[in-house]
């Protein structure tokens, strides 16, 4: 009987105007979005390659002139445009994508200017994630808002339930058919998009991308199930289809528009952190204290004979000042991470936000990528410093007094660029992605179960007359 209901509902859905319009809209956006992505990606990769080539060129020039400047010069690592961003961009245009470091420390991160045009409004790229979170979420609500209330109004529901058919079967049949209808659109659009990507030859569609696509299909399935449950709940709560439509629209507005777009407010009000100027003052105070208490001669000028004892004092003081500043900053960075993570927790009330965070894990982008780069860059910095210390130890003309801001008391010899470790980003492994995804999966499954259970309990008492 369940199969019969599913087939009947599917036929109703697939022949309906709402399916035709939403299918057409989906396909058009999938195609336009993919073509636009390929053009965009092409341009971005050209600019990035140019940037990276110049970066390495400057690194080479510095390495082949002075190893200490190689170690002490502050550099920026900017992450590359992701090849699988046609699945989801994870708002990486707006994320901090610039990491400042030297051999001595990783100093911080910032939102680089290169990401977006400041004269344009903030926007979402037309990738698969946008289509699912805006168009398909809306579509599935349009399929489910009158699934119960509409049939009650026409009298069909009373006729169906006058037979010996359990209410659970009717509800489940309608629910599953709404999910299948929406998944048909998603799969069709995704296949079309993949074909465009493959035939364009501008982006490699690898085995990893295939796994990511399958993972993305899984989370679409969960997301669509969640939205279908919400739509069905609206249909069961309201006894008239126009009211259930309004309820569904209200839910959609709150989940798609309100909750994600008010997260900053919650971040600053509920999970506030110290202001940046307060941290600046703390750093200055600690710095002045260190300088005041430093041994006499620590603040002498840097010119002169490298083995001058004052240079050792200054190197030690400078190292202490850097460590003091970075201790305060690293604690502040942890506060920032906590603030973001807690704000995301609050926004999990919206299935759209939940879907976005799950996307990050599947495609290896967004905050998951940021954390990986942050961690890996710290590991690289330690390795880079060790490399420099090895070069320095081999130079008998160096006093080996490490100063993070100067090149006076460490080796100024050249080093072959080919020997220099250069930081390259490693993509997240599947294990890392799954560990990021795990908690969100649990929340999503719980969400679906809770909403569907509520729908089911409400439907058991639903007056079908």
């Amino acid at each position: 009987m369940l199969k019969t209901i599913i087939i009947k509902e599917l036929q109703n859905n697939l022949y309906s105007l709402r399916f035709h319009i939403s299918f057409l809209l989906c396909i058009v956006i999938f195609v336009v979005g993919t073509i636009a992505f390929l053009k965009n990606q092409d341009a971005k990769m050209q600019e990035y390659s140019k940037y990276r080539a110049e970066f390495k060129n400057q690194l080479r020039q510095t390495a082949e002139s002075n190893a200490s400047r190689l170690a002490a010069n502050e550099r920026a690592f900017i992450w590359r445009p992701r090849a699988n961003a046609f699945i989801s961009d994870c708002k990486e245009n707006y994320f901090p994508n610039r990491f400042n470091y030297s051999a001595y420390n990783v100093f911080g991160f910032e939102v680089g200017r290169g990401g977006t045009n400041p004269f344009l409004n903030t926007f979402q790229e037309l990738n698969w994630s946008f289509i699912v979170s805006v168009v398909l979420s809306f579509t599935v609500l349009l399929f489910t808002f009158d699934t119960i209330s509409g049939e009650k109004e026409t009298g069909a529901l009373a006729l169906v339930l006058s037979n010996s058919i359990p209410r659970a079967t009717v509800l489940l049949g309608k629910y599953i058919s709404a999910i299948i209808t929406t998944m048909v659109m998603a799969v069709f659009g995704i296949v079309l998009s993949i074909l465009i990507v493959i035939f364009s030859r501008k982006v490699d569609f690898t085995f990893t991308t295939l796994i990511e696509t399958l993972g993305f299909l899984l989370i679409i399935f969960l997301f669509v199930s969640c939205m279908a449950a919400i739509g069905t709940l609206s249909s069961v709560i309201a006894h008239k289809s126009n009211i259930s439509l309004l309820l569904s629209l209200t839910f959609w507005l709150v989940f798609v528009v309100i909750v994600p777009n008010t997260a900053i407010f919650w971040a600053n009000k509920v999970f506030s952190i110290e202001h940046a100027d307060t941290i600046g003052r703390k750093i200055n105070t600690a710095d002045q204290e260190l300088r005041r208490n430093a041994p006499a001669g620590s603040d002498t000028s840097s010119s002169g004979f490298p083995f001058l004892p004052e240079h050792k004092l200054r190197a030690e003081l400078t190292m202490k000042r850097m460590n003091s500043e970075m201790a305060i900053r690293n604690s502040y960075f942890q506060d920032m991470f906590r603030q973001l993570e807690r704000t995301r927790l609050v926004s999990l009330i919206s299935p759209i936000a939940l879907f976005d965070y799950m996307n990050e894990a599947v495609v290896g982008g967004g905050y998951a990528r940021f954390k990986k780069i942050w961690t890996d860059l710290h590991g690289y910095q330690v390795q880079f410093l060790q490399f420099f210390k090895t070069i320095d130890a081999a130079d008998p003309d160096s006093p080996h007094w490490y100063n993070p801001w100067e090149d006076l008391s460490t080796t100024k010899k050249a080093v072959a660029f080919e020997q220099v470790p250069v930081f390259e980003e490693k993509p997240l492994s599947f294990a890392e992605r799954f560990s990021f995804l795990r908690n969100y999966l649990v929340v999503m499954i719980f969400y679906i179960a809770a909403v569907f259970s509520l729908t089911f309990v409400s439907f058991l008492g639903y007056d079908v007359r």
């Binding site: 940037y51 004269f119 409004n121 008010t262 900053i264």
Partner: protein, 533 residues
């Protein structure tokens, strides 16, 4: 008769669930959004006060002109509570450098504390109006004709001597009367919240702009009323009508805005800012090598020691004192050459930066052209112009900062400050000494001249402790007073007057009016042929 039909429609709508839900939605969303934006404005005001104090301090506590680099700090736009425009994307601080013209403002307040929060978007009052009012307009008009056709009341009405145009106008007026109180309520509620906020005060010009914004909102939902009406007059079933209306709503309000910007990004390429910086760095290196070449042509100083010396981080800032007369003279001559050259190089850099800005603007124009398909985007553009948070307002501000830079440079040139010792040292020229004099005094007579000092240093592993044996009072730059900068031109901040940017607004308002008239005309034609059976 039109008024009777309008009254009937209004009373029916008033007791309907859609009115109650729509009203409750606004009752919840508007105060919440306005509160969020007032809070955001308060944060930006706090940041502004901190930045302004820092800018004033750096202006006050300066001992040499090479460290004098004014900073312009823009207060947050009060009307950004209603429409953020691009004010959330751009910073509010502009430092005036000699070596570069101001390109962008820095110090984006929203991400000052935590850059990770930049990935969260925010919504403003105009955004809520654009989304909710358009939805309400469609919800109230999608069944203007189809519901009465399904109920059979339309044919009963038209079986009387009642012309179709009166019915149509009556329905339009009825919907207008229904939605107008909701819009008015939203604006009054926002006004009350703003008046209760202690840190915000609007000028008369700003209140004028809010009234204009209200009328723009009325025009905006009028467009959607006619869209809903047109769809209702073309279809026979209410359920089909609402589905079509909702798809149009999603298309205009959510898809077109993102589509326009994404297509602009894809089709109109812009050079990467980081690559532009590399090119500018090359110009910087060229400038530095010219300065190095010039130094080689100058007479070498008697002693290469910079006694008290702190090079600044940027733009040639340098403060020194206590060095020998010939050393100070060398630096003075260098700066007399380098600073005008630095300004020339700023002009060269500006050619590249302007090309970059122009490409950003072209991309924006392209996005704007495509977004004109959507009435909600036209409304947002009108709102941003009225609230002075659009690109044109930002460009006007940046132009003013560039003009201020020119004034500042003229001030320095007219007073021949680049040729003055005061550019790099607060030490009065009459206190300058030769190297031998300095060495004799500082070593307490132990070394009489530079030759003896060098011999002593060679014998003591290069140590120069002997130079610190005796201090010469009045030679450290911290012992000198700060400069009197009362005659330095200061940037005067002025709010935009009510007429700024209105020309652009008129064009877009006229476009909305024309679209409304056209849509109503199409609805009217459709309704004349509408089968009421």
């Amino acid at each position: 008769m039109i008024w009777k039909i309008a009254r009937k429609e209004f009373l029916l709508n008033l007791v309907s669930a859609r009115f109650i839900i729509g009203f409750l939605l606004c009752l919840f969303l508007i105060p919440f959004t306005v509160t969020v934006n007032i809070d955001d404005y308060d944060s930006r005001m706090r940041v502004y006060r901190v930045d302004k104090a820092n800018a004033e301090n750096s202006f006050k506590y300066v001992r040499v002109y090479s460290y004098l680099r004014p900073e312009v700090v823009k207060p947050p736009e009060p009307l950004s509570i209603f429409c953020q425009g691009i004010s959330g994307n751009v910073g509010s601080r502009v430092k005036i450098w000699l070596g570069e013209k101001p390109l962008f403002a820095t110090g984006k307040a929203a991400i000052r504390d935590n850059p990770l929060l930049n990935s969260f978007f925010s919504i403003d009052f105009v955004g809520i109006i654009a989304i909710v009012m358009s939805l309400l307009a469609l919800i109230f008009t999608y069944d203007a004709c189809t519901r009465e056709k399904e109920e059979g009341t339309l044919k009963l009405q038209l079986s009387n001597s009642l012309s179709r145009h009166k019915i149509l106008l009556g329905k339009v007026l009825g919907v207008y009367l229904t939605i107008l109180p909701i819009v008015l309520f939203c604006y009054i509620l926002s006004t009350i919240l703003i008046l209760h906020s202690p840190n915000i005060s609007f000028s008369a010009g700003e209140w004028g702009r809010i009234i204009l914004l209200f009328f723009a909102s009325l025009l905006y939902f009028t467009v959607f009323i006619f869209i809903g009406l047109l769809i209702s007059t073309r279809l026979k079933s209410s359920i089909t009508s609402i589905i079509v209306c909702l798809f149009f709503w999603v298309f205009f309000v959510f898809i077109v805005p993102n589509l326009a910007v994404y297509m602009a990004e894809s089709w109109k390429k812009v050079q990467s800012y980081d690559n532009l910086q590399y090119v500018l760095q090359d110009l910087g290196k060229e400038f530095n090598s010219k300065c190095d070449e010039y130094v080689k042509t100058l007479e070498a100083p008697d002693w290469g020691m910079n006694m008290f010396h702190e090079p600044g981080r940027r733009d040639g800032a340098r403060i020194m004192s206590g060095s020998s007369k010939s050393m100070l003279e060398l630096w003075r001559k260098l700066y007399e050459f380098s600073e005008p050259l630095r300004i020339d190089y700023a002009d060269k850099k500006w050619n590249l930066q302007k090309a970059y800005l122009d490409s950003l603007d072209q991309q924006r124009n392209f996005a704007e052209m495509i977004s004109l398909i959507s009435p909600s985007e036209v409304f947002r553009l009108i709102s941003a112009s009225l609230c002075c948070t659009d690109v044109a307002s930002h460009c006007r501000f940046m132009d003013r900062t560039r003009r201020y830079r020119d004034e500042f440079i003229d001030f320095l040139r007219d007073r021949k400050i680049f040729s003055s010792f005061l550019y790099i040292t607060p030490q009065p020229p009459e206190t300058f000494m030769t190297a031998d004099e300095i060495i004799r005094i500082r070593t307490g007579g132990e070394c009489k001249n530079l030759k003896e000092l060098n011999e002593w240093m060679d014998a003591h592993d290069g140590s120069w402790k002997i130079i610190r044996k005796v201090q010469i009072p009045g030679t450290h730059y911290n012992e000198y007073p700060f400069l009197n900068l009362s005659d330095v031109p200061v940037f005067r901040w002025q709010s935009e007057n009510i007429f700024a940017g209105l020309k652009q607004v008129f064009i877009k308002v006229a476009a909305l009016i024309l679209i409304s008239i056209f849509l109503f005309y199409l609805s009217f034609l459709s309704f004349l042929r509408y089968d009421v059976r």
